[in-house]
């Protein structure tokens, strides 16, 4: 027992919270298989969680980054909606091509990052206020661009949207006895790439470690010779850039533009990050954890839905409850750890 507690003590905060997250996810998934029947056992069920949440995974990676550096960005949902609408209008009304629409998405993300990052890092304005205004601006702009929701008809886009990548060997036999291949969408590949890249950046690059340093203790980071302002600025750039990519992946998944798109996505991203072991106070977090955070969040929603509570409002309540729970777990675990170190 003492050995275990010693191990617990020596763990970094990040890996401790990561362990909790992964543990919770597997327990939950196994619980779902046991209590909710075999549906959860099918690989496609799992892949569908990925397909539906590829965008959220990307947004959450950005959110985790900015949170690790001690900030927050609640504009990502609005940016997603704005990108969907702009790209939809461009593709259908202006007959644009798909490649340029991607550039538009990334351009909007980058512009958001530049403005928000500048206001937060160099003018020292609270990130929450800045991104709150950013969120409202994006939502308002979306309706200014186009009021009514509509589906994109652009052929090359629709083709791209319907591209399915077959995962070999994991298909299943459906009710009619026909073998159906398991598939993922393009967005999932992009999301997994983003997870991988962000993991590497945060784990091994100077910039990544600077995010941790600045989020952990701004003053110390300054004393250690880190450019704190630039680091904060970069964290917002990365977050908004990922919001741009995530926004496009979202657009690719839904294939339409609407002002109500990605409603509450910022909250889901924050919740996923926190469930994934990113501390609100900054300095602690892991992209792998965030990835599992998204999966946990969706799995519990699937469980809630398959338990008969399928009304829309349960989604919001479940997320808020999960968030609350993990905030409490975080503070309890960290407080205990602190106590044991003091002794």
């Amino acid at each position: 027992m003492s050995k275990l507690s010693q191990k617990f003590k020596n763990m970094t905060d990040t890996s401790l919270l990561l362990t909790i997250t992964i543990l919770v996810f597997f327990l939950m998934y196994i619980g779902a298989i046991v209590f909710q029947g075999k549906g959860f056992l099918k690989p496609q069920t799992f892949f569908n969680i990925l397909n539906e949440n590829a965008a959220l995974i990307i947004l959450s990676c950005g959110m985790s980054t900015v949170m690790i550096a001690g900030g927050i960005d609640i504009s990502v949902g609005g940016v997603t909606a704005l990108i969907s609408m702009c790209c939809a209008v461009y593709l259908d009304f202006k007959g644009g091509n798909v490649l340029v629409s991607m550039l538009i998405a990334i351009g909007i993300g980058l512009a958001y990052g530049l403005v928000q990052g500048f206001l937060v890092a160099y003018l020292d304005i609270q990130p929450f206020i800045v991104s709150l205004a950013g969120m409202f601006f994006a939502r308002g702009m979306t309706t200014i661009v186009n009021t009514n929701p509509f589906n994109v008809q652009n052929e090359s886009f629709v083709a791209l949207k319907n591209t399915r990548i077959i995962v070999p060997g994991l298909g299943s036999v459906n009710k009619k006895g026909i073998y159906v291949d398991a598939y993922v969408e393009i967005g999932v590949i992009i999301a997994l790439l983003v997870v991988l890249i962000m993991f590497c950046i945060l784990r091994w690059t100077k910039l990544g470690r600077s995010f941790y340093a600045v989020g952990g203790n701004k003053q110390s980071a300054l004393m250690l010779g880190i450019n704190v302002k630039r680091t904060k600025f970069m964290s917002h750039i990365i977050c908004s850039l990922l919001a741009g990519i995530g926004g496009y992946v979202y657009f690719l998944h839904v294939g339409s533009g609407a002002a109500t798109h990605a409603q509450g996505a910022e909250m889901n991203a924050i919740a996923s990050s926190i469930i994934g072991g990113t501390m609100l106070t900054g300095g602690v977090g892991n992209i792998i954890g965030t990835f599992f955070g998204v999966l946990s969040l969706r799995t519990i929603q699937n469980i809630v839905a398959s338990a008969g509570l399928d009304q829309a409002w349960w989604t919001g309540i479940t997320i808020a409850a999960m968030l609350c729970l993990f905030l409490v777990i975080q503070s309890v675990v960290m407080a205990r750890k602190k106590m044991s170190v003091k002794k």
Binding site: L123, A133, R139, I144, L280, T315, G316, V328
Partner: protein, 351 residues
């Protein structure tokens, strides 16, 4: 002159005058107030200015609570819109029971209002606990209720949309027969008088400001900063319940996803426009209340120029960013340096 300039009310007042002047030049009909009969056959006053007063009421009420929260905790509550949905839903639920189209009200309006007050204050208390005890930044803490609130509101009424046919219920958001001025104006006035009395006859103002300015020395002077921060969130809860009564009464029904949408932004804006520091500390309640009406005036003006309601947030977001940028210490320092340089240069030139 410098005294007027230093007074906080100067800021919202100037904004108010600029907006009024703009309207006067653009279209003087903005100021026309006419007496007419409404659909119930009552004589009522109407006109853009009446709309501002009428629709600004909820905002003014929320601004009261928001000012206190801002002063004590140095952050803002972004869940007020969602909390209004909850309070409104509770109100309807108590009034209607399970029957969504009741002919008679199951409980007196007053009782239902009291219950919705308690519910709203409980949710305020929840926010307060997260902020004061768990020390989570106010805006992040209230983000939880911001997301869950409208869902909870829908859940309270089982996602049904009760409609109340009793005309008495519509008095609170409309007109009392025989009185040509909208009732919300009276309710807002009553709340303003109430908070004025509270600030006069209790130490609420002194305590919240002291805690917001210097928590450590407040504690050493015997105050309990945790309790005071918590209290401001509960008071905001009460303001939310009153605003919810007006909002629900206007429609005699509720729409969970639209009711009081984006009102948190307006409430925060009202506080900022009132010249109160969003980082907490000293506040001026009157300035916040005027700020609320200025925001409403801005909204009404934009409406008048055919800006669709969904696009409004974009305009307001620009105003918010401008406000925070110009009040940011970094910018202020730079500006004052620049000012000094300019005046020094002009003096040089003069010499």
């Amino acid at each position: 002159m410098s005294k007027i300039y230093k007074n906080q009310i100067f800021i919202p007042m100037t904004a108010l005058l600029i907006l009024l002047l703009f309207n006067l030049i653009a279209d003087p009909s903005f100021f026309k107030i006419t007496m007419g009969l409404n659909s119930a056959g009552n004589p009522v006053l109407s006109g853009y200015l009446m709309t501002v007063l009428d629709n600004g009421s909820e905002l003014a009420i929320l601004a009261i609570g928001m000012t206190l929260v801002t002063a004590a905790s140095g952050g803002q509550d972004i869940s007020v819109g969602a909390a209004i949905a909850i309070a409104g839903s509770t109100l309807l639920r108590v009034l209607c029971g399970t029957n969504t189209r009741p002919d008679t009200l199951r409980t007196p309006i007053f009782v239902a209002f009291l219950i919705s007050c308690l519910v709203a204050m409980a949710f305020g208390a929840f926010n307060g606990v997260l902020v004061a005890i768990f020390k989570i930044q106010p805006m992040v803490a209230t983000l939880i209720l911001y997301t869950a609130g409208r869902s909870i509101a829908a859940w309270i009424n089982n996602n049904e949309l009760p409609i109340i046919s009793d005309p008495k219920f519509s008095y609170y958001g409309g007109f009392i027969p025989g009185i040509p001025i909208p009732t919300p104006v009276f309710i807002a006035a009553a709340m303003v008088i109430l908070i004025t009395l509270v600030l006069k006859f209790t130490n609420l103002g002194l305590y919240t400001q002291a805690v917001g300015i210097n928590e450590s020395s407040s504690r050493l002077n015997g105050l309990n900063p945790v309790f005071i921060k918590w209290l401001t969130f509960v008071i905001l809860g009460l303001c939310v319940a009153v605003a919810a009564l007006i909002k629900v009464s206007r429609l005699s029904s509720i729409n969970y996803s639209v009711i009081a949408k984006d009102i948190e932004m307006d409430a925060i804006l009202a506080v900022a426009l009132g010249g109160n520091a969003l980082s907490g500390g000293k506040f001026n309640m009157a300035a916040s209340v005027i700020g609320a009406f200025v925001i409403q005036l801005l909204t009404t003006t934009l409406f008048k120029f055919n800006v669709p309601s969904d696009a409004l947030p974009a305009y307001k977001a620009v105003v918010v960013i401008m406000l925070v940028v110009f009040s940011a210490p970094v910018v202020r320092d730079r500006m004052s340096v620049l000012f000094k340089k300019l005046s020094a240069e002009s003096r040089k030139e003069a010499a």
